[in-house]
Amino acid sequence: MMEQFEMDLWSPYVVGAGIGALNTLAFLLSDRPIGTSSAYARGSGMIERAFRGSKVEAKAYYRKFEPVVDWEVVLVFGIVVGAFLSAVLSGSFRVEAVPALWAARFGPDPILRIAAAFAGGVLMGLGARWAGGCTSGHGISGTAQLAASSWLAVACFFIGGVATAMVLFGAGV
């Protein structure tokens, strides 16, 4: 058993089936799907409240998604912990700012990579809330429920993502 935990990579089918089982468990035990992007909205509200005080809670969006630690916020915290455990057990934990594929195309400058990642992150946070979900909430949970909104959103995630990656790296890399 321990040997499996120490492996660097598992079959993507085993991993996917496990995630599908966790999603089913979330419906059974918590009556909710797995999702992560509303946690970022709540987190953003909590940070803003730390600077600007409780008037932040009056914003229409934060009345819908109160800036409090809820199920999804602890889930995102759990993802960090779980990935850390997996990486440490397999010996693949590594502090790294510039992934190899990025470095091969744009060079090893960490400032450039982090700036591009930040710009991408801002668009992603905006788009996830705009579309009402991310690759988890729409991509894995919404599609599994056969929600029309989720299949449309996921198609658009990948249309936008593939187009952007092709522009950045040149098609056919």
Binding site: P12, V15, G16, G18, I19, G20, A21, L22, T24, A26, L28, L29, D31, R32, A41, A60, Y61, W71, L75, F77, G78, I79, V80, A83, A87, E96, A97, P99, W102, P110, I114, A116, A117, G120, G121, L123, G125, G127, A128, W130, A131, C134, T135, I140, A144, L146, A147, A148, S149, S150, A153, V154, C156, F157, F158, G160, G161, V162, A165, L168
Partner: protein
């Protein structure tokens, strides 16, 4: 509905523990699947590495069958999100551009932080928090002008087609399985 499950679902502290537990399992699996890595995600967007698709399709097949089984047994109800062209399609495309630049998504960025990726922490988590904050700030006017354009509600595909959900679940699972077999055969 089973009373014990009702109790569990309304127990706030138990729910936070369950969320944490499921999150740890989710993060562990994402990292073991390799999908917390920038190179793997961008490899998928460049259509060179189909790991992300394999993980997502397997998760959808198992989750779809599992969730619909629970529903048929009366143990769970669906929570489909409402959508519109203005929100799902336009928001999805904005997300997609961010996806291509960042190379992680909100869940896998958190996983990448756990494996030591600084770009996922400073760029990913930091950027997503700011982007979500910008959305919250502009929400009232976006809601009025864009998000409701072409609304189609929280309908599921079986509801739109007017059929029993299993009439869509089974063919969708078979199609996804077929695509996975085809990808393996062609060597992606």
């Amino acid at each position: 509905m089973d009373l014990a499950i009702e109790d569990l679902r309304s127990n706030h502290r138990a729910q936070l523990a369950i969320g944490l537990f499921i999150g740890i399992g989710f993060g562990f699996l994402l990292q073991k699947g390799g999908v917390t890595r920038y190179d793997v995600i961008v490899g998928q967007l460049l259509l060179a590495d189909f790991t992300v698709f394999k993980v997502m399709a397997s998760a959808v097949i198992v989750g779809m069958v599992g969730i619909h089984l629970l529903r048929s047994l009366g143990l769970a109800s669906l929570h489909p999100k409402a959508g519109s062209w203005g929100s799902s399609a336009l928001g999805g495309l904005i997300f997609g551009v961010g996806f291509g630049l960042l190379g992680y998504c909100p869940g896998t960025a958190a996983g990448a932080v756990g494996q030591g990726s600084i770009d996922a922490l400073l760029g990913g988590v930091g950027g997503i928090l700011l982007g979500a904050g910008i959305f919250a700030w502009r929400y009232p006017s976006l809601e009025e002008r864009v998000l409701r354009r072409g609304e189609f509600g929280d309908k599921t595909i079986p509801e739109i087609l007017g059929v029993n959900p299993w009439m869509v679940v089974i063919p969708t699972a078979l199609i996804l399985l077929g695509v996975l077999f085809w990808i393996e055969e062609t060597g992606f």
